[in-house]
Symmetry: C2
Subunit: 123 residues, 2 copies
């Protein structure tokens, strides 16, 4: 059997959902997941002790607050939050991002709480 | 000491080099590397036996030839070539891509030959 070989169009995938702060998986890369999310407002401070986390802004504007200063990302800009570095994503306007990190990493890291949500597949 | 926390602007990084078929590292993510490359023409058929490889087109148009059909990527589209799948990138016009795979993966995979080149840091 030949598997279908389909590209992933980021804009088309983003058009498939409206929920904020919910990671949608769009591809696997070995044991990593490529995910999309839409953000607006302020998340919570949290840390991923065991992994770096890549943020790439597709549209909007994302501020990643860090304890030693903010990183502001415009479309076409990326930042890798190093493992163990506490951070808090904030978006004043609705912002679409691509996320990359190992499978199973939770959005709230060590902080937990009611905003914790596993990534969901997006077909 | 506080490390500087700098975002990576893909367009600015792409403006820093002209060489074709040379992977430029722009970020680390755990033991993975985020790289940029400019492509034009046809590469060689090769396989990465031990890893998937992510291609995201930033500008231009990339055809990834596979033995069971082509995948064509426009800007904002990505594709993960699964490990063990032979592929040959082709770009009719100059095309800029973001690549993601484990550190140390060579561009020509199992094929080797004169086009083999390790990724270079881009500061």
């Amino acid at each position: 059997m030949t598997e279908p070989r389909a590209s992933v169009n980021l804009a088309h995938k983003l058009a498939q959902f409206d929920e904020l702060w919910t990671q949608k998986k769009i591809a696997d890369l070995n044991d990593y997941e490529v995910k999309l999310a839409k953000l607006k407002g302020e998340f919570i401070w949290h840390t991923h002790e065991d992994t770096d986390e890549l943020f790439l802004v597709i549209s909007g504007r994302l501020t990643i607050r860090l304890r030693d200063g903010d990183v502001v990302l415009e479309p076409g800009e990326l930042f890798v939050v190093p493992r163990g570095v506490e951070h808090c994503p904030v978006a004043d306007e609705e912002t679409a991002i691509l996320l990359l990190e190992p499978a199973g990493v939770l959005n709230t890291g060590d902080a937990g709480g009611p905003l914790t949500k596993a990534a969901e597949p997006l077909d």
